[in-house]
Subunit: 307 residues, 2 copies
């Protein structure tokens, strides 16, 4: 079933120890859409400027991503420049030019109204809430956010989080949102805000999904998925959005939604994130084969499963 | 089969957000011995001072730990004082009084000579090498170290590492020892120093075992074990030594040593580490039941295994 993803399309200029790219097609909606496209039909709502060409659009279309919801606005597309600390633990922003993204007001094409899955990318929580309200008949809503919104728009963010099924954030964001330095207590406080499940991403250490009691069936414990130890991380930009794409994509591909599906989705999230970091921008996500994805899923299983 | 453990016995004074203890029986050999005692017979070689009483010794004896190798020297037992940063990521040392530990020269009682497993706790690498040479007929040798020895006695440490089967260190130590910030490349460089397997501990994110090609049977990948997300970490002191005790203890309890055994041992290491941090000092390790250990092993499995 189809997934509607709302978020940024951007041109990134990124330096890492492996090299540098300029104005690479990127942004949360791009990474998410490409990663999810291997599992389910994806529709994007975003805004771009005059500099977004047919060639750029074809990158998405070639993966079957529905681009009718990408609005063209006069001006330039959102641009971000950054580099990484040596162990890739943190992105250092060199510049941010919001451009047309500054006045982004997501417009959902009527053809998208029947989407059963919704992913709210990292945008102002009030915009996330507006989109959420316009899509009342979804089966599952996933949501991302970041420190910026936690610090500046906490009341609005709480309203958003109350209405989503799965919140996907990283350790630092979970601790900031909850005011708790212990991850289990942080997860309990975040779940108390409303979501049915909380996915916390631990970077190179994988991810954990915490469930609200009784949500998605029964079970006592959280669940942890690994990442793949890689000898070379080329560019970690977009790993989290690609993770979300694999996670939501796998869920959308399944008949039922239950804890076991969410656990597998966590593995597929890790798998797509591990592909994303193997190249600059979303390049590695353009020409994967489903067999490669399943093979890596098998490696993730070998990495963690006893006989 | 019996495990011989060489390391420190100490009295710790520790402050954490959960409280404070003074002169608590601790030290690497204590944590290791207590944790391993649930799986196999353990023999300790250490040094203590006049202040080490029969009552202290009985804590070990009550768990069946053989204390004949604990040497009494005139003076005071090694004392360490410390506290933790808020998220427990780092121990801050308040004081270190080496006392009798400063002149520790491990003496192996002849009754210990038939030990089939050897654990070289975190002491000067030259002492580790000496003990290693005196125990040539072991089935498996495990070894710990720390940043202090990597920085100050690297040539000696390389000699030690060359002669052990499994090195157990944490992320920071692996990166420092290898000069690599990428964990997979770091593991490759450390394995090139000689050990058959390298266990890297990631704190609250679990641990990974990397195998030298062909060591302990065949297989393509490393293996990762989780930790248990705990709502309250009371005192993380000794978690690494307790991990090593569970890891080595489980291996010593098995007929054969192969990759599958080492993978399970990694789980048992995490299990014993997770118990250790639930109380001050090694208190939680004094009265466990094997059933509790196996139940937690089951939780670790549920945390990571898909149906």
């Amino acid at each position: 079933m189809s997934i509607l993803a709302v978020g940024s399309v951007a041109f990134d200029t990124v330096s890492t120890p492996s090299g540098r790219v300029e104005n690479e097609l990127a942004g949360a909606a791009t990474y998410f859409g490409l990663a999810a496209s291997y599992f389910a039909p994806v529709r994007i709502v975003a805004v771009v400027g005059d500099d977004f060409t047919a060639e750029h659009e074809n990158v998405l279309k070639a993966r079957g991503v529905d681009t009718r919801g990408i609005e063209r606005a006069p001006g330039k597309t959102f641009r971000w420049g950054g580099h990484y600390t040596e162990n890739f633990s943190e992105a250092i922003t060199d510049f941010t030019e919001l451009n047309v993204f500054e006045n982004f007001h997501p417009q959902i094409p009527k053809e998208y109204a029947d989407s059963k899955f919704l992913f709210l990318g990292n945008i102002h929580p009030t915009l996330q809430s507006t989109v959420r309200r316009e899509m009342p008949n979804t089966k599952l809503v996933g949501c991302d956010t970041m420190n910026f919104w936690i610090q500046r728009t906490l009341p609005e963010l709480r309203e958003t989080v109350k209405k989503v099924d799965v919140l996907l954030i990283n350790d630092g964001e979970a601790k900031m949102l909850s005011g708790e330095s212990n991850l289990l207590r942080a997860s309990q406080k975040v779940l108390a805000l409303g979501p049915q499940a909380l996915v916390i991403k631990h970077g190179e250490y994988g991810s954990t999904v915490f469930f609200r009691e009784g949500a998605f069936g029964t079970g006592r414990h959280p669940f942890r998925a690994p990442t793949l130890p890689l000898a070379e991380v080329v560019d970690p930009t977009g790993a989290g959005d690609s993770f979300a794409g694999g996670f939501m994509g796998y869920i959308a591909s399944q008949e039922e939604i239950n804890r076991e599906v969410l656990k597998r989705a966590l593995f597929y999230g890790g798998v797509m994130g591990s592909f994303a970091v193997e190249s600059f921008g979303p390049r590695r996500l353009l020409n994967l084969k489903r067999g490669e994805i399943d093979e890596r899923f098998g490696i993730f299983r070998e990495l963690t499963h006893l006989d």
